[in-house]
Symmetry: C2
Subunit: 646 residues, 2 copies
Amino acid sequence: MRLVTNEFAPLKQVSVKDGFWSRYQEIAREKIIPFQWRAINDDVPGIEPSHAIRNFRIAAGLEEGDFGGLVFQDSDVAKWLEAVAYRLSTHPDPELEKTADGVIDLIAQAQEEDGYLDTFFQIAEPDRKFTNLNECHELYCAGHMTEAAVAYYEATGKDKLLNVMRRCVDLIDRTIGPEEGKLHGYPGHPELELALCRLYRATGEERYLKLCAYMINERGTEPFFFEEELKKRGYTAFWGGGRQEHVDKEYNQAHKPLKKQTEAIGHSVRAGYLYTGAADLAAETGDGELARAMETLWNNVVNRQMYITGAVGSQVHGEAFSFDYHLPNDTVYGETCAAISMVFFASRMLRMDSDRKYADVMERLLYNGTISGMALDGQHFFYTNPLAMWEEATKRAGVTRHIRSKRPGWFGCACCPPNLARMITSLGGYVYSSSDDTAYVHLYVGSDAELDVGGQTVKLSQTGNYPWDGRISFKPGAGKYRLALRIPGWARTFSVTVNGAKVSPGLEKGYAVLDGVWEDGDEVILDLPMPVEFVEANPLLRADNGRVAIMRGPVVYCLESADNGEDLDALQVVCADGFRAEEDGTLFPGMVKLVGPALRRKPWNTDALYRRADCAELEECEITAIPYAFWDNREDTREMIVWIRK
Amino acid sequence: MRLVTNEFAPLKQVSVKDGFWSRYQEIAREKIIPFQWRAINDDVPGIEPSHAIRNFRIAAGLEEGDFGGLVFQDSDVAKWLEAVAYRLSTHPDPELEKTADGVIDLIAQAQEEDGYLDTFFQIAEPDRKFTNLNECHELYCAGHMTEAAVAYYEATGKDKLLNVMRRCVDLIDRTIGPEEGKLHGYPGHPELELALCRLYRATGEERYLKLCAYMINERGTEPFFFEEELKKRGYTAFWGGGRQEHVDKEYNQAHKPLKKQTEAIGHSVRAGYLYTGAADLAAETGDGELARAMETLWNNVVNRQMYITGAVGSQVHGEAFSFDYHLPNDTVYGETCAAISMVFFASRMLRMDSDRKYADVMERLLYNGTISGMALDGQHFFYTNPLAMWEEATKRAGVTRHIRSKRPGWFGCACCPPNLARMITSLGGYVYSSSDDTAYVHLYVGSDAELDVGGQTVKLSQTGNYPWDGRISFKPGAGKYRLALRIPGWARTFSVTVNGAKVSPGLEKGYAVLDGVWEDGDEVILDLPMPVEFVEANPLLRADNGRVAIMRGPVVYCLESADNGEDLDALQVVCADGFRAEEDGTLFPGMVKLVGPALRRKPWNTDALYRRADCAELEECEITAIPYAFWDNREDTREMIVWIRK
């Protein structure tokens, strides 16, 4: 029995018209998609050629040459196609579609007779296909291209790429599985798992679900496939090239069966994709044990290893999780892609259980730790998302050398920018879901939608000025159904009116449920007051003891040196009450900044490093906090902090 | 004109009888020296054989075999001999001296006809002598053995090793220098420079000073010797073995002339030895420009890059300094050897200028960041000395993986233990100095000494219970001279009595100067009240904002989980007044621990990571602080912090 309790409204049926997100979607359309197109076509002077399209042309026999780029270069083309597909879902664009069709034709030409498709192996290592699942990303690339194929099919109805990827996956299915003679393997970098679930939903073909289940359940069992594979290869390592004795199986969550894992570990993007695929699988197959394992891992991530911005992956070593409550703010990795993968994971958990705890985290991610990866010009990107940045330390201290003080432009390993593009363009698909009798609103994103509530088609629209204002107006279309509005965990209070009359809806797992027979023209207004709040961390989270983060609504704020001078740790705040919210559209239309009182340690009139503490002097000052996601959009980015001393 | 304003009383003339240091000296005699003897003779089951003595036997033709150990393995023998020499200076021990004489005979046998002595090159690379000064430690080993030779000569009057090292240095002098055909080089790892100054003082031979001056002044000039040498070698690297295009010249302070350097940079032990040698050279030659450069670097280290414990080297990357005010407490390197090198540097600066600023730092180092490197059993050693330690993070987070939660036993690269041994055994040599008319007391170490004050031999003794008690009694021997007692920077007040009568001595650069004609039987009592103090860091030192360290006298205290439970950052202190000093000899005879009130954030009754800050609750508790140097001498070492939230 499937474990799906509510189904998201398909992207095609949600038209986003939102002060905040429409702008991001325009950035994706105007900047990221065209730029990435030029990048994968080696058409951007000054950046390392991507070779991504050229690799397909070579594999297709249209051009001579060597493979270029990284072993997972194909995925750049896939992510571009996927973002284009989402864009086309809601904003038809014949020219863009024509370009995409051309790429799809090329991909089809590059595919081999038996369905094989991976330009690295086709061009560079034709004799070594499927010999290094651990390191070589064949299944990862297939996963991304499968996601693109499903998205493009759902957007345009065209099935050419879908059929290409079905043939490709069929080959993988003939190659990997429990039967003798097949590889008892699974992806080194998870991604295909979640793609297989999508392919299953798009085609109804059970085989894909079964392959996914095999990969998820085989992972981490003994004898360890990656060790066996290494032995078979003669202990050769792909990265670095030398001899390798052992595989770091924790790095890619292959150290024990996923159902036995209770702690998020290893490379955080791999973890996020794996958990997403596993949650998907559990939902589709009704594997309750797997679903419970995913809830355990969810709780571990969210309650032990997630930054207040939603960032995950607290260390550069392995771009990985470290351990419970170890969340350093300055040496963090916090890869943009990892935060995005957590949006996917949240959506899959939410589909099984419409509990606000999932949507709250999704919201935390969307407004903070994901979009912080992109400058507001849409052309500069962070891979790492620190919660404290001291520019000189990023340049001169080994421990923070992976942190950038300024977002660099697009570069060689372009995983994060296109991942952001696909998240932003597909955002409408996370706003609403429905069950047999209930229309859920998970996100407060201005939009018009059509939902299927137990067979009846229901129109539902919302308008507002979120996340800057907590008052949101809903127009539920005619019908008899329950309207469930998420009351965010950050809200101290809320109020709801129906056609102007105050109502007191019951709360179900954090959703205010309004049961009724709706008529066209009805209006529901949800009001979520948004005072400035100081937030503290669990005392076990050692890095943040004695500090607060400033939030307003779902938005995490930060202090930048551009507003507050240097040495931000010399500042301390006392009370949130003195803070006022001020609209300031300089950085972003409608943006609200927070201004309030603070104390600053006075500079010393001695050159000493240490002195008796009884002479401490503080001076009053005013500080300005801006949304964390918008940091580093001005010239001066010498310092930034999220957690402020109290 | 020499820049020496005061000269330390030779070690032979200072007999240490001190509650604190005599115990450390006994640990050195009973544990470190015998253990190291067994270690360098490959006589300790369970640890990697050192091969150090065996290498000399092979080089001497007494045994067949390959070179074993690291390229600087010879220096272990040198440091052992040096520590033995210091021990013999004050505590004759015929059996130990016989053993040392045997080692010296072996070293003499190993030396080649032309004076060459470095068993690595003699055994393993006889054709590559002096081809890789940057990486291969030939001159470093020669430096350590020269120090041993001088120390042994001064201790025993025996000049066999001294002559061996004179021949060795003479060969280096024929090999390196400004003349055409010589190498225009200098040590990759400084150490020989300071040894040459000692050799000069022991022998009166100007040539050694000239060679030192050449090495110091040539360093960092263009064309860069290490680059030229690399080119000549065909771009081969010793460490790692691959091709190397460039030399990281900042790593060993060879990026620009030392006189132009204003900021401590690179590997911190290299820096400490280099600065020590340069200060020595400046003092002996009267090079005022060099002396000023060393004062600039001293000020940079002490006022910008030194932890409150005296530790230096804030990063594991290159075991190096990072930059001004970047002093993270948990990811620090703080190598024991680097702290020891700063004691040497301080002593050389103090010799040029009897300003308490140098002796204060020496004291800070001696009671805190140096001896923290050794367990009180004398058999376990820290190479890294963090100021905050969370055991789980040392095991599971890449950023702190270089930190040990427990001192390990002796191991392969045994630089720190024998370095501690030589510092501890030579401690008496840093207590007193004298000028023409003044006897200086720099350290409050119980001892009897004979000083040469302007030609008259003056007896001087002190007794007390420092660092636990600030009352020290002095017995100045008969004579007319000024007695200068350091008033530590940590002392708020002080009082002095002479034969029971209160006096008000003038202060000269932080020394209370008592001018008089002393008679045998006179007693001077210095009283330095030692309240418990909270110390704060400069606001520019970002890591310590909002925190205090607890000190009493020169001793920096810390909190350990053994006394205070886990999650030490959940604690905060309010005021030093509530703290009391309690004698507790469990860990160390006479040790004073500090007990006082604190507040602890209450554990949350929710599993969440974050919540609104207005519900913060604190509970009162009592905390116990122990001297930082003594941390990790009990079973439970899950956590330790020096800087406590206030």
